[in-house]
């Protein structure tokens, strides 16, 4: 590790830290009296993680959290003063000790010949994912009448065969859910005897296309939540070991309103855990004079329709540095969700349908009613004929192979299907484009109690008044990416926001306190061994807050949407028809929460 070299080890001191997460006016002086035993018992003992509580205690804790009573250390004064922001937040992730995790790269959004607008065999996509370095992947063909009737069932043997043929890749079966009243979302389950039946039942009951429920309406919104509730029930009943949902390309058409996202997040069972921070189709903006499709990056080129949320600004319909506006905007929608002190994580995927620069074609030209060379008809059989050699390189397409450009890194104690899902639910996730960096490690600790730490997705308990150290260690790309050059990380930005608790307006998509608090220059790191650690200290913590990081090759930036004081060098608006994805690389981490509890250290 070369973290102590020039420029690669930076400490920030009080002047930065003091004005931000510190919550003034919080009562520091009262004698805290933790409530123990009695009617509340283990439910309020936050040293007992949720997973170890009895169902009854867990339920009790949920009620207390919902009432805003838990999370500040349930002191006598705290219980009375439950309206303070500190009291409004639970500890979304619990402890996430920064033990050595194995980081598995993956992609939860991949299509095959079982989608009406795609073409590859399951085995093609799994082989590609394996070749381009992915450890896990989810097959997510489009929900719809044909898929629900027959496609989902027929995909399963292909997936099982691919698992056998590629033992190094965890291949999940899922589907791309047409969320009633909204956009698309990944839904997937852990392998098991019921993986097909759970998915099929879900799709038949709750897919917006199958149910004719795609347009925006309160009834359709309720159907979406009912679908998530159904999945939670399947997990609870043991029909599937686990199920997850993530919102895909959430801002593309403006149809995922903030209140819908909050509604999915708050549905029972925490099935909905996050969204694509970056959509797929990252090749779509390669300019035509570079033999690219010349479209909009991510195919984010649309404008509002009747299904759109009226409050979204027009710039939300475009990508920024390849990322979705909800994620790329500092102080924007994602931050407004995190400021509630609730978990909501971001990912990056290929959305691979048909690949830029590939040579093969769908022999029917994606005609669902045409008969392919082997006699298949999509609408009858649920899948297209296998791809055939097309005779020329296909330059009009906007997608990459899984793993070729977008990666979602998940930290697991050991590899396994359920471990990957658990880690995703925990938020132990960071994402990158173009293999910008090899590794990212984030640790957060109280300066005076360094034995306890949290990492991505976690929430660290500290005492009121503690100083908190945030450390990121980045390993620069050690080798070339799949465009055969070695990317150079230029800068890492630390973003900090206060946790202000539940919102009264469920359609809010800004939060005023989140901003970039420090940027670390990484241009000299290569010469010093390629790995660097940066530390930032938040002094005298008064209220709950979160930290998150992003990094960039520094090639394209502009002042963030909320101004230079919030984000002086944010991602740039991607140029229509001229967005070379290899010349604009970013990584984003998920947040770590810090929750001060109890009495200040040393004040007895």
């Amino acid at each position: 590790m070369s973290g102590s070299h020039h420029g690669a080890h930076s400490h920030s001191h009080g002047d930065h830290a003091h004005d931000h997460p510190h919550q003034h006016g919080h009562p520091h002086t009262h004698e805290a009296t933790p409530v123990e035993g009695g009617v509340l018992g283990e439910a309020v003992d936050l040293t007992v993680p949720d997973a170890e509580l009895s169902p009854a205690a867990l339920s009790r804790r949920g009620v207390l959290r919902g009432a805003g009573l838990l999370g500040a250390g349930l002191s006598a004064a705290g219980a009375v003063g439950a309206a303070s922001p500190a009291a409004a937040v639970g500890r979304p992730g619990g402890d996430r000790p920064g033990e050595r995790y194995q980081w598995l790269a993956g992609d939860h959004h991949i299509h095959t010949q079982y989608s009406p607008d795609a073409m590859y065999r399951v085995s093609d996509q799994v082989r590609a994912a394996n070749q381009y370095g992915l450890d896990w992947m989810v097959i997510t063909d489009h929900g719809g009448e044909t898929h629900a009737r027959i496609g989902v069932e027929k995909t399963n043997p292909d997936i099982r065969a691919a698992r056998q043929a590629n033992p190094d890749v965890l291949v999940f079966q899922g589907l791309e859910w047409n969320i009633p009243s909204a956009e698309h979302g990944t839904v997937f389950v852990a392998p098991g005897p019921n993986e097909v039946s759970v998915l099929q039942q879900f799709e038949q009951g709750y897919d917006g296309s199958v149910r004719g429920a795609s347009s925006s309406s309160p009834a359709n919104e309720a159907l979406a939540v009912a679908g998530l509730t159904f999945l939670a029930q399947q997990v609870r009943d043991g029909r599937t070991p686990d199920a997850l949902m993530l919102a895909n390309h959430p801002a593309r058409n403006g149809v995922d309103s903030p209140h819908e996202i909050r509604g999915w997040r708050d549905a029972p069972g925490r099935i909905a855990i996050g969204m694509e921070g970056a959509p797929g189709h990252q090749a779509a903006g390669i300019p035509a004079d570079a033999l690219g499709p010349g479209s909009a990056r991510g195919y984010y080129g649309n404008s509002p329709s009747a299904n759109s949320f009226a409050g979204y600004p027009l710039e939300s319909y475009r990508t920024w540095g390849g990322f979705d506006w909800m994620t790329s905007t500092v102080g924007g929608l994602w931050d407004s969700l995190l400021a509630e002190g609730l978990p909501w994580w971001v990912t990056a995927n290929s959305d691979s349908h048909s690949v830029y620069g590939d040579w093969s074609v769908n022999p029917t030209g994606n005609d669902r009613t045409a008969t392919g060379p082997d006699g298949r008809v999509f609408e009858v059989d649920g899948l297209y004929s296998d791809p055939v050699y097309g005779g020329q390189i296909q330059t009009g397409r906007g997608d990459f192979w899984p793993g070729f450009y977008s990666r979602t890194h998940v930290g697991v104690p050991r590899a396994g299907y359920r471990q990957v899902m658990a880690a995703m639910r925990d938020g132990r996730v960071w994402v990158d484009h173009g293999r910008l960096v090899d590794a990212v490690d984030v640790r957060v600790r109280a300066v005076t109690a360094t034995s306890r730490e949290s990492t991505l997705g976690g929430s660290l308990r500290v005492r009121q008044g503690d100083d908190v150290e945030v450390t990121i260690t980045v390993a620069l790309a050690s080798g070339p990416n799949w465009a055969t050059f070695r990317p150079e990380l230029a800068r890492v930005d630390l973003i900090v926001g206060q946790v202000t608790g539940a919102v009264t307006d469920r359609d809010v998509f800004t939060t005023p306190t989140t901003r970039v608090v420090q940027s670390f220059d990484t241009t000299g790191v290569r010469a010093q061994g390629g790995t660097a650690s940066f530390t930032y200290t938040v002094r005298d913590v008064g209220g709950p807050f979160y930290v998150r990081f992003r990094g960039t090759d520094g090639k394209r930036s502009q002042v963030g949407i909320y101004g230079a004081a919030v984000d002086p060098q944010g991602p740039a608006l991607d140029v229509e028809g001229d967005a070379d994805p290899w010349e604009d690389l970013w990584f984003y981490t998920n947040p770590v929460f810090v929750v001060p509890e109890g009495r200040p250290r040393g004040r007895r």
Binding site: S214, S217, Y317
Partner: protein, 204 residues
Amino acid sequence: MTTTSTRPASPPAGAPGARPSDDAGDEGPARHVLGLLTPHLRRPAEVDHAAALVAAVPGLPTGALVGSTLVPGAPQHLGLVVLTPSPLPEEVALAVATAAGADGAGTHVAERATSGVVDRVAVFPGREHLVGVLAARDLLAASAVEALVGLGGLALPADAVVDTRAHVRPRLADGRLVLDVQPSRGGRWVPFEPPVQHSCCSAH
């Protein structure tokens, strides 16, 4: 069917080359607003079709704007609105409503238009001149569009060049017709709204 009128605090929409101004003078002519209940309109292309039919109604005054605003509720839809420099005779208003396939009066879209807001304007004076690649100043001079606005706060240079893609759909904001534009290839700008929406996938 009645029309309401508003006096915008800005230059008249029909004035060629009118530039954005902080001048809050109210010398512009009243705009008469006819809001229509059009729950069948859900996509911009459907609005364009209806707006073209409305624009062809005999007796519609010169200088009319035809546009749409998102109407929340069930069904959420795009409400058609017609703004004219002079009041519509009742038979013309009825012909307009018929051409639009309207079910009645649209109060939400009318209220928004009366306050100077229309989400998207499909018919406006001079639109037939907005084809090909134009200097920004020529675009403003040739049509009722009064200002260009860079997407996401981007500043437009004075000598900006706009590739219209033969598809220009401004909006009415504070009573002014403004066009949102975004950067495109070769340093040019293009209108925010694409001529063709990329409809991904099977479901929508």
